[in-house]
Symmetry: C2
Subunit: 152 residues, 2 copies
Amino acid sequence: MATVEKYLTIGEASKRSGVPTTTLRFYEKRGLIRSIRSDGNHRLYHREMLRRISVVRVAQTLGLTLSEISNALSDLPDQRTPTKRDWERLSKRWRKQLDERIAQLQRMREKLDRCIGCGCLSLKSCAFYNREDHYAELGSGPQLLLHETPDA
Amino acid sequence: MATVEKYLTIGEASKRSGVPTTTLRFYEKRGLIRSIRSDGNHRLYHREMLRRISVVRVAQTLGLTLSEISNALSDLPDQRTPTKRDWERLSKRWRKQLDERIAQLQRMREKLDRCIGCGCLSLKSCAFYNREDHYAELGSGPQLLLHETPDA
DNA sequence: TATTGACTTAAAGCTAACTTCAACAATTAC
DNA sequence: GTAATTGTTGAAGTTAGCTTTAAGTCAATA
């Protein structure tokens, strides 16, 4: 146990958050979370960091990439741990993206419906080949459930 | 141009399908498409293969992984190129998955709405941490828009 | 015939988000 | 005190879906 009860060792933080220690270190390397060190060079996480870890995981569940999450978090003044107010702002923004994603899938469904009927699939002429929804073609790496903005 | 008009060289198939030649070779390695060889060992794609390529791409747009697509295609008798009837069957199945995915995102949206209000985010107790929708945790690799079945 | 341009291959590289490994140091439990 | 546990590091491995590279072959054109 950490000497100062305000802080948690990586093992404790892992247990409370449900996130593997290896992943916590990884997040730290990526700048998503931070820690101070003990005399023996062990990481010590401030209790507030748990909320931050939590925000990261929820955002991932929503489909955001770590870079997107990183951006969102770095928008917070002084990189502070999200307060309830911050969370409200972030989650509202993400809710909008979720809406967009749902709408997009619904449009895709309509296209597919029209496509099932005609069975065309004539590549160039098929609705599927006329823009939008080409997530599978955006290069490599994880395909997202949400996107900040498709391009730029 | 291929001597026998029934077949296309990889370059021709690429142009008609809009899929890079490198990707066509990759798909072939993955067993998604097939070809015969010319005297000079160049690939020759039967015209019907264009439809198959098309199905692969549409399925990807819908969010299926290449393995899932591979499975779906291998369900076809004798691994034949999808006929209009096959396409109908496949696309109807995928439509259902699309429905499920949309429903899932909608449930996620409801959760988020409840979460925005309370601002709890207390990790273990938060709705987000009580199962389902943990797509971001299914290991590495592309996160999917659809899934055959969450677990095997 | 010579020169492009299209094609062939295996192998390595890329991104994301981790996990695993190896080798060693600090803490804790007994 | 010593053994077990927990922690530290950098580097390499993993999966998906490609792309890139290198080094050489085939085909079409002037």
